[in-house]
Amino acid sequence: MNLHGIWAIYRFEMARSLRTLWQSLVGPVLTTSLYFIVFGGAIGSRMQAVDGVSYGSFIVPGLIMLSLLTQSVGNASIGIYFPKFTGTIFELLSAPVSPMELVVGYVGAAATKSVVLGLIILATSAFFVPISVLHPGAMVAFLLLTSIAFSLFGFILGIWAKSFEQLNFVPMLLITPLTFLGGSFYSIDMLPQPWRTVSLFNPVVYLVSGFRWSFFGKGDVDIAVSLGVTLGFLVACLAVIALIFRSGWRLKN
């Protein structure tokens, strides 16, 4: 086990985000605040409570998930894409570092940033709406699992992408719509059929639902199903990464 190697990659990635602290943390916090002002304050004040929770509080878990997903995918994908782009990947490929060690370093750093970001957004939202977390353990677990799973997804995206356009394309065309349609701002029970059933094919629904359950004790789907889908997505991403490294796809000639 090359612990020094993992640690070097982890520190390198963390240092990279410290250099771009403004982008990494301040940006998402500002965006979230704007959501609260618009959805929580302006619109939410005219909306009735959802499942007995005021609309402003109701959207907190969804908003955190929105940032978590976008940031996990963004951070992890640029982390591995940039060395490919600049050519410095030669050093990673020639180093005595196993694929799993590489993943632990890159995905670990991206997930760490996402968790920190999630907690900062949670703290930010406490300024706007009353927050109480019913199941703190489950909340932290969902925060961790989601950050890791989507950082793994971002890592795959970074290896797949051949250009910056492609790198931005997937989050814009896949992650953002799935998150918006995943019940971040509403309960899927509010949707008419067949959209309610269609929504159940969106994995983000399960993430948001599980995360919301940890806050309010209620979600759109059963907590066990939420957890299962989240874990399933994580394992699927790991399997894809294992395949990528076995074949050297888009990494080695």
């Binding site: 090359n2 020094h4 070097a8 390198f12 410095t88 030669f90 050093e91 005595p96």
Partner: protein, 309 residues
């Protein structure tokens, strides 16, 4: 016989498009030697060292680094290798010290600040240790790449075209460093397309062309083979044929008899030039210009291929 530190057996590489960059290369490198891989651009030099370093997957063959298989036991193999690539690929936003420390850790070593300081001082980088790499000149960036490759104290150092686009000062520093490393027992493998560079640096030279390792020889033996030179005399009056009685010299006529060419070996004690010129003067064969040139690398490769055929 010194012990081999690197053994390449039957290594070939055919890319997906069908292009074969390497044809079954066998090569043994001895511990502590300086080996030059000499060949024109596109000969397969970079492909070969990329395969040894783990950046390119070979189509066939095995590589043993100090007895460790580079594919199945890659961690043990790669820990022993440092690579300075041809391209200036380095993280622009990092500081010199941070990126060199990163390399050392990446290769599984704890951050040893005393060793890193020594490497940076050897490469005249210590004063620039806190500078961002993007602020450095091209020559300095290359020094950073060398420092990164040396950061984990490798037993084998690969230098891919180390003097391409490098100024005189850096070239001199680099050769000094190479010799210091050799004194410490580091094995050095460099690629070049300059015969002079191979001659100046290496103990042994391997000539590679079109993906085939044509020969591997001690430098002295090879330089003998590569030492062929040409003397061209531009004649005042064209000749129809090489004059009778000059068969001692290998002469030929070019440019419709206006140029008399003598092919000789520059490494011979007697080149035969003074006697040839005297002989020509005696025969009143006048010339208005005289020029000697080395056979080009391409000519030499052609000769080598023909010799082997």
């Amino acid at each position: 016989m010194p012990e081999p530190i690197l053994a390449v057996t039957g290594v070939s590489k055919t890319y997906k498009g069908g292009f074969t960059a390497l044809h079954s290369v066998d090569l043994t490198i001895h511990k502590g030697e300086i080996f030059a891989l000499l060949g024109p651009n596109g000969a397969g030099k970079t492909t070969l060292i990329s395969i040894i370093c783990g950046i390119v997957t070979p189509s066939t063959g095995t590589i043993l680094v100090a007895g460790h298989d580079a594919l199945t036991d890659y961690k043990a193999a790669r820990r022993r290798i440092g690579l300075v690539p041809q391209e200036l690929s380095v993280d622009m936003f990092e500081t010199v010290l941070a990126t060199v420390t990163f390399s050392r850790r990446l290769f599984g070593r704890s951050g040893d600040s005393a060793y890193i300081e020594q490497v940076l001082r050897d490469l005249s980088l210590w004063d620039k240790r806190d500078a961002k790499i993007m602020e450095l000149s091209g020559g300095m960036k290359r020094r950073v790449l060398i420092a990164k490759a040396l950061a984990h104290e490798p037993e084998i150092l690969f230098l891919d075209e180390p003097t391409a686009g490098v100024d005189v000062a850096l070239r001199r520093d680099m050769w000094k460093l190479v010799h210091r490393l050799r004194e410490r027992g580091t094995t050095i493998i460099l690629t070049t397309h300059y015969i002079e560079e191979a001659e100046e640096m290496a103990d042994r030279v391997g000539v590679i062309s079109k993906g085939r390792l044509l020969l591997v020889d001690d430098k002295a033996a090879l330089m003998q083979k590569l030492g062929k030179r040409e003397l061209d005399l531009t004649l005042v009056d064209p000749l129809d044929a090489v004059p009778v009685g000059l068969e001692r010299w290998r002469l030929s006529l070019l440019n419709e008899g206006r140029t008399l060419r003598y092919v000789f070996d520059a490494t011979d004690e007697h080149t035969g030039i003074p006697s040839l010129l005297r002989e020509l003067a005696d025969r009143h064969i006048a010339f208005k210009d005289l020029e000697t040139s080395k056979s080009s690398l391409e000519d030499i490769f052609v000769d080598l291929v023909e010799e082997r055929a």
